[in-house]
């Protein structure tokens, strides 16, 4: 069991390294941001397995990270809004979906 959980954590860290590559190449800011989000979710997974492997106290950390998982993305959409304090939903959407609209 211990052996297997070590392997799974190593696999998760490998998956995390792939996401780091996406943070590096982007190209859009949203790409980098969502790769960071993926790293956060993977990190929660690693903590859950560490809880089994080492000490259930790791769940306290995992719970905190899950609670605050959306914070950075919220900061990102705030900063990306036109005045730096808004919400992307306040404005009409970009031209892409008008072009692709199917209905």
């Amino acid at each position: 069991m211990t052996f297997w959980l070590h392997l799974i954590i190593l696999g998760l860290l490998g998956s995390l390294a792939g996401a780091l590559w996406r943070v590096w190449v982007g190209p859009a800011q949203a790409d980098r941001m969502m790769a960071a989000q993926l790293i956060g979710t993977t990190g929660i997974g690693v903590l859950v397995l560490l809880a089994v492997l080492q000490d259930w106290a790791a769940l306290t950390v995992a719970l905190a990270l899950a609670l605050l998982a959306a914070m950075a993305a919220i900061g990102f959409v705030k900063a990306a809004s036109s005045d730096g304090a808004g919400d992307p939903e306040e404005c009409a959407p970009g031209p892409t979906d008008a072009r692709d609209g199917q209905r």
Binding site: M1, W4, L5, I8, G11, L12, G14, S15, L16, G18, A19, W21, R22, A28, Q29, A30, D31, M33, M34, A35, Q37, L38, T41, T42, I44, G45, V48, L49, A51, V52, W56, L59, A62, L63, A66, L67, A69, A70, A73, I74, F76, V77, A80, S81, P88, E89, C91, P93, G94, P95, T96, D97
Partner: protein
Amino acid sequence: MPEGLADIATIVLTGIGLVFFLAGTVGLIRFPDVFSRLHALTKADNLGLGFIVLGAGFQADDWTQLAKLGLIWALALLAAGTVAQLVARAALRQEGRE
């Protein structure tokens, strides 16, 4: 549940979880545009976390650990549903501008 069975369940479930995490990363690397990549991330990862949480649950010593694991997954889902919509929308706006 006998210990052997619980261990097998943990091994199978965490293995499935890892596969979904890897799928999310492969999608994040391979898919051609921002929005398709967001699909990969949101769906595959949270399912992966769900299986890992479930697998860890079979090793829990008491019900509070199970409940905490459930709460972790519920909060991760709430964050994922919110972040996917917000980041997709922000990307839509930035695409129109840049």
